[in-house]
Amino acid sequence: MILLWLECDANGVTEISLETVAFARSLSAAGGGIAIRAALFGDVPEAARDQLAAHGVDEVHHVTGAAYDAYAGAAWASALQDIRERTKCVVVAAAGSPRGNEVIAHLAARLDVPMAANVLAFSGLSPFEVTRQVAGGAALEDMQLPQRPALFTVAGHSWTATPADQVTSPAWHEESPAVAEADLVARVSARGEAKLDDSGALTSARVVVGAGRGAGGPDGFDGVIELAKLLDGALGVSRVVTSLGWRPHNEQVGQTGSRISPELYIPCGISGAIQHWAGCSSSKTILAINTDAEAPMVTKAHYAVIGDMHEVVPAIVEELNRRAG
């Protein structure tokens, strides 16, 4: 059996968690129809029930209780460990999100078994072999996971969150496994309000307008911010921009920033170093604006305009306004 740790937001199960379910269905099919169990913690929106059925989950473990009110990696992994021991699941996986990697790493440490982070695909079942992203996705690693349970996370946006061919009616188990005090020591004790800024909801935006060194300085972002607003999109920047202090780090797209997968990404004045490509390569369409036709960002893009972002972006803004009347 396969056990998945899934995350929810206010709208239901997160997109990358559903991608992980799609990965698990493929693994299940390869293994002759292995049952898929999902573990969800805390508040679960009503919509999640239909999503889990539509995506082919067979059983759901819903973990709640005072010990799980606030996030604690060790406590959550302890509950996951408890479920896995009772259900004898041979695989435990989660999305390759910050929390997904954290919870699975806790479980790996508790069970003293290997963990593969950011897996893209599996190539064999016996021995179980996976391919995963290393160096921010610039290189791939074939790795074996011979121990049971096999633990891994699925790289975000490497699978599509398509529903299953057959809708299931998952059995729902309400649970509250006991937790050792030691596992509750490192626990979220206070939460603040999410910051609202020009990065908006960077990772969920349909359009992201990016800016890099070509912005020229902290004052060089007015055009891209205006373009992002007109397209109802978000602003994303390269690491050089945050390193130079031109924009805040929470706007950074890249290996050490956010990983985005918008319908359209418009990198302006970004050369496309590996560090940045790691964060934007899942974009459905890329339109690069750059003075250098040979820049990696241009050659890897679907569309490009060769020119200075400070001339091209205002012209696009003007054209958008003109057509809007």
């Binding site: 990697n101 954290e102 963990m115 160096a135 290189a139 690693e141 074939d142 569309y303 020119g307």
Partner: protein, 255 residues
């Protein structure tokens, strides 16, 4: 007085083309040069600030080949007061092996009466991207761990660790000693000063041998994704391309 151990890894600079070693077991940095991951630069900064603010000491540790002393010297130049080098072929060490080796140093230093209040690591290494060494270390030494920390303060033996969580800012209040993994973004790493570089040269690095045989990383091999030929369609040059760009927006349905 807060004494911190900050763990770094010598990794290939990721700003240029990725090349693999001839045995396909690692990313080859011989041409690109070597550095430490951005997360670790921030971990060093946090450790040095804590040392400065409390009169404590930041000790930097690495596990790696002889050449990794270069990364230790850089951290010393930034204000770390001591360095530990577990000399080993890092490629042969999987994440569980590395955690075990760091744990051995932490335990041995504690036995000698120089235990650490805080052990900092990067959230993930920019080459192997395992996302687990800090957590495995915490279990190996029996300490609590907070992951993905941006900034932290220590007061009265309690660490307030701030994390940019999925639903907004989060704070963990955890008594020392503890382990934390650091994410880039909370602090601006400083640059070394000439004085710092001179002082760094005088510090003797504590060199140790690994305490166990590595179990490895279960790595079969690394390979590079197949090169994708460029299919870019140039919409135009300069501001005159604006019309074609907005046509594209309309075709994609984003306006």
């Amino acid at each position: 007085m807060v004494d911190t151990l900050v763990c770094v890894k010598r990794v290939p600079d990721s700003s240029s083309q990725v090349v693999l070693t001839p045995d396909s077991q690692a990313v080859d940095g011989r041409h690109a040069g070597f550095t430490v991951s951005p997360h670790e630069e921030c971990a060093i900064e946090l450790a040095v600030r804590l040392a400065d603010a409390t009169g404590g000491r930041a000790t930097v540790l690495t596990l790696g080949p002889a050449e990794a002393s270069e990364q230790l010297r850089s951290a010393l130049a930034l204000g770390c007061g001591a360095a530990v080098h577990v000399e080993a072929d890092g490629v042969a060490f999987g994440p569980a092996d590395v955690a075990r080796e760091i744990a051995a140093v932490v335990t041995s230093h504690a036995d000698e009466g120089r235990g650490y209040d805080l052990v900092l690591l990067g959230n993930d290494a920019s080459d192997t991207g395992d996302f687990q060494v800090g957590i495995r270390l915490a279990y190996a030494v029996g300490l609590p761990v907070v992951n993905g920390v941006s900034t932290l303060e220590v007061a009265d033996g309690v660490v307030s660790a701030h994390v940019d969580g999925p639903d907004g800012p989060e704070t963990y209040s955890v008594p020392t000693p503890m382990v934390a993994t650091v994410l880039e973004g909370g602090v601006e790493p400083r640059y070394p000063t000439l004085k710092g570089r001179m002082a760094a040269k005088k510090i003797e690095i504590e060199t140790r041998a690994p305490v166990t045989q590595p179990g490895g990383a279960n790595r079969v091999q690394l390979h590079l994704p197949p090169p994708a030929p460029s299919t870019v369609e140039i919409l135009g040059e300069g501001p005159e391309a604006a019309g074609a760009v907005v046509d594209l927006f309309e075709k994609l349905g984003v306006r």
